[in-house]
Symmetry: D2
Subunit: 350 residues, 4 copies
């Protein structure tokens, strides 16, 4: 930590701040500058609250140097985390691009199977579908719940796809952990710390979507909450942030990909569907995500988006999805990646 003194701070005030720091058990290093004196602090373990220092007379600012995340940090683990799934060659992280595709909501067995067949044929290895939906309005469709989980379990059985679906609270977390392969924590719950801690006590991979106005550090702190309870299989997912920009529903912040890769060893996916909210923008942003170095993408696919019960305008058609797979497959080698195609894709291609 660094304490910056005001230009007018007196020598007594500087001495008093140093004394206070030493009293807390740290060492103070006064650094007189042309305009102001700064005081370096060593010996703190990173958790020291800067609050008390900012209150002292003459102090202008306190600057924190250590990062609050540890287990999520590359400082602690240098090699990339790769998440694998028993009985499958599917992985998230590492050289293989991961593609998670499916409808916003599971609406019926027929709809889900029809879409799953398309995405499996195109080579996806992960299927997404909402069973419990966090809807802004209490009057909107809230998801089929357990029935949707059962349908997705059948889809895993039939198509060999791994299942990713969102949990909203303690109850749905236990159900999702039981039926799915990856537990999704939505953007609105990225700082629902009770839910994160509870997910940390499970032994299923957790995919955390970036909150709508979360900084990189807050995003990694959400991962840290899960990891601090012993669950190290965390996947990050950029899905756009809130800005003044009005040409898309959110502003997809792809530059967080290289920044996260410098700071953390966790895999990072991108959701261009929620990230843009517009079908026409999904393919360009999926390509851009892969080109920027993302570990994969998560997209909404619907066979009849015009009748979708939620998020129709951002769902792509099955043939668009197949086109996207071809495009990202061609971009993958430029970033040292490979797009594996699932078992069913191979079968379908024969």
């Amino acid at each position: 930590m660094l304490v910056v003194m005001k230009a007018q701070a007196t020598p007594e005030e500087i001495r008093a701040v140093c004394a206070h720091i030493e009293q807390l058990g740290y060492r103070a290093h006064p650094l007189p500058g042309a305009q102001r004196t700064a005081i370096g602090i060593t010996g703190n373990k990173g958790e020291a609250d800067r609050g008390n220092l900012e209150s002292l007379p003459g102090v202008a600012e306190v600057i924190r140097v250590s990062k609050a995340y540890k287990l999520a940090s590359r400082d602690v683990k240098e090699e990339d985390t790769v998440i694998r799934f028993a009985g499958s060659s599917a992985a998230i992280g590492g050289q293989d691009l991961a593609v998670i595709a499916g409808p916003c909501s599971i609406e019926s067995r027929e709809q889900a199977f029809a879409i799953a067949e398309h995405v499996a044929a195109a080579g996806a290895r992960f299927f997404r579908g909402g069973a419990y939906k966090p809807r802004t309005s209490p009057y909107a469709f809230q998801g089929l719940g357990l029935e949707a989980l059962r349908i997705m379990a059948e889809i895993r059985q039939t198509f060999g796809l791994r299942i990713v679906t969102e949990a909203l609270d303690a109850e749905t977390l236990d159900l999702v952990a039981e039926w799915a392969d990856v537990i999704q924590i939505g953007a609105r719950n990225m700082q629902n710390f009770s839910l994160l801690k509870r997910a940390g006590r499970l032994r299923k991979p957790v995919l955390i979507k970036r909150g709508m106005s979360a900084t990189l550090e807050e995003f990694l702190m959400a991962a840290e909450y899960v990891m601090s309870e012993g669950n190290y299989e965390v996947i990050l997912c950029e899905r756009g942030v809130r800005t003044f920009s009005d040409h898309a529903r959110n502003t997809l912040d792809l530059s967080i990909i290289p920044a996260l890769q410098r700071a953390s060893h966790l895999p990072i996916l991108v959701d261009p569907s929620h990230g843009t909210g517009r079908r026409d923008s999904v393919l360009p942003m999926a390509r851009a995500a892969v080109a920027a170095g993302a570990d994969g993408v998560m997209v909404e696919v619907h066979n009849h988006p015009e009748n979708a019960l939620s998020d129709g305008p951002q769902s792509i058609y099955p043939d668009q999805f197949a086109g996207m797979m071809d495009e990202i497959e061609r971009i993958a080698p430029v970033v040292g990646r490979h797009l594996p195609r699932g078992v069913h894709a191979a079968a379908a291609a024969q």
Copy 2:
């Protein structure tokens, strides 16, 4: 709803959109313009999903006209909601300004009582103190829990102050509802819809803090979630939003006060402590909030902020709090309000 067609939309495309609208059971009203045709829709009940329409050929944009909130809307209830407390003249909403004050966290019985005595003496009628703390870091102080709730119940007993404290999840919600007078839902949980619905089934007032990047409509939809379950005693609280601005921890958005008062009948408070994150800015912003027409303020007060376990730099000193009370008391009549002083203030003044 209004469907805006592209400039190049063909007459067939326009007819097809109209037919689609009529098929959904609504009436379509094509409005040819100089550049584009727009199609008005009547007969919808407000919940129609616009998704399907944006998918039709030739459609440029779909504009929603009805608001999604109903119970929270002034369209449904014109007169202001006033929340009263049995056995007390304290109220939130209406002519009396409500002042909620206390430490960020309850740290000990001594600390809490010392601060409560100060704020009661200065005339506050509500005491706030964190029992369960939503901390960005899993390694930071998480609150005293039930012990803190018990201390605050004693404070109510001793000083006649009504207690406001935050619930984080289902378990703490039940405990807070049992021990406190107002259940606070924090900014990070503003779209934790499970928690909001659960709070809606209780019969205690619920204070909802605005999410860090919530629009006015999303803020009122959070209230709607609580109200849709039958609990109509909802208090809104502006606490600053996330922007690029770096001179304060958040950007306090006071212009939401008149905007909310036009749209809704619910009371609106302002938290200048979290809203700025800087002690020096709390009093100016508390005065500004009252001058802008807020129904009251919520501020952090600490007798030793330099030793506070959380949010020290934004807590004001007891004498600053007393000064703030005097200032807002003088501003109150300009906006047709009155600052009632609690029983203990009267006693202290004698």
Copy 3:
């Protein structure tokens, strides 16, 4: 400046950074921490570019400590700047609140005089009116130009009001400087450094509106540009910033008032008309600005806003303006201020 090394930085890398710093003529102070080493730099004059340091191996981050603004800073001049006008008791800064009022655009002599009469009668001492308008569309009304400047000069003559109007470029700057009392630099030109420097070579007060996404530091650097050329009469004006928030045209950032007052000695006004874009919100925000400690307000007043050629929806009616004057007059003493009423107000009151 402070250089923060990566956790894995080697002793050689740390030594190399120190050597580089010393080579630049500064002193390096290595501060080993629990996780990382930081290196304090002393002896720099504040202008050192941190660019080169961030390029060295092992460096994680470079933190600047000194502020770039000097003449605008309270470090350099502790007492508040008060701007006075020859032959008038009007002032901006100091104990008296300054009120600048008038139409968005001067549309005709009749319109301008009618509005000026109203605002003078209500006690304003400054009249604003656009002669040259920065319009987003090249097809929109661009202002009456020189004719408007002449009308305003007559208004000064007739009502004793000081004239504030915007300059857009070199040509209009010279004209505005010739005819008006205060030169306004609009938000869109806050970083038009050529214009700022040119304004700095004049000897007329310059009112700078905050750019739509300007930080406090950038705002003060715009003032610094003017001051660095020798013109020290600079007035700052907050007018709202761009955020995701959609209930107002901009988000009025009142907490910049106390922050600016800590950092700078320059007077700070608030424009609640552009700051909200909604007539209904102008009075609440004008009151809030004064309560927060602003040195005054700048508001748009129109006698027939429904026919205004620009910004009708945010212009208040003359009687609303009179009401606003009464309200801020009552709030002024709470913040140690006074609202002087102009000569014509006194005359009108008799």
Copy 4:
């Protein structure tokens, strides 16, 4: 335009609004809804000011439907604009990717030639270098001015590179137009309408950088200003916007690429150097820009970034630039593009 009435609006108020609309020479189409009545307006030419309507009793909101940009719009010109340069096969827009590269500032003839040789050898066809620099601080290096323009003219002569450089005001605009091939208008001047109009009267291509908080519509309106004066050769350049996000200097908003391509026929480039402010992020974002469909990229290259007089931390090394060229060349065909390599690249490769 669409006028939305309040839920409580009376039939008289609705009739009055209709009468007002008809009086303005338009047609009013009342559309009674379940909750509110909306009134469609036809016959307006797109420039009607909505101001007056929002003032009428009972009106809740006025929604504009037509877009304000015309010449920049795809409604007016469906095919993509391609900008060509006499005596060169270089182009901006169309199938060929355009790459503009060079230092932030021209610092000396040696530096400029050394960098130009590198970027020409790697195949770039456009050279950028600042002659006039818009610096936040008046005390920072402001550029070499005319000397830099002369150096770049020599570079064009020697390497066949087309020259792109920024104009700050009327004087430098004329000089840049005389010496360079493309006139750059910087982000801070995107709404400097005087400068845009003046650039519109020249017959040199104008590259406009997106303002730090400009919406898509404002960005296109800046182009419209240039085009409305008769200069149709406008190039748009995304360079990141201001948000709360702190892991990069700006938030690069790549999703504006498909959105602009839907709305406009103008070419769109991306500047990942200013867009991220970090060398490590430039290549990932350059690849992402091309993958998203941009017409090219503009990047800062420096042979000794650690000694750069401005923006060192975001400049890439010559060998990184060569690597970037190879990467985007491989991505280009995925989006139906091709990366032409300049004459000197061919020569160098022999």
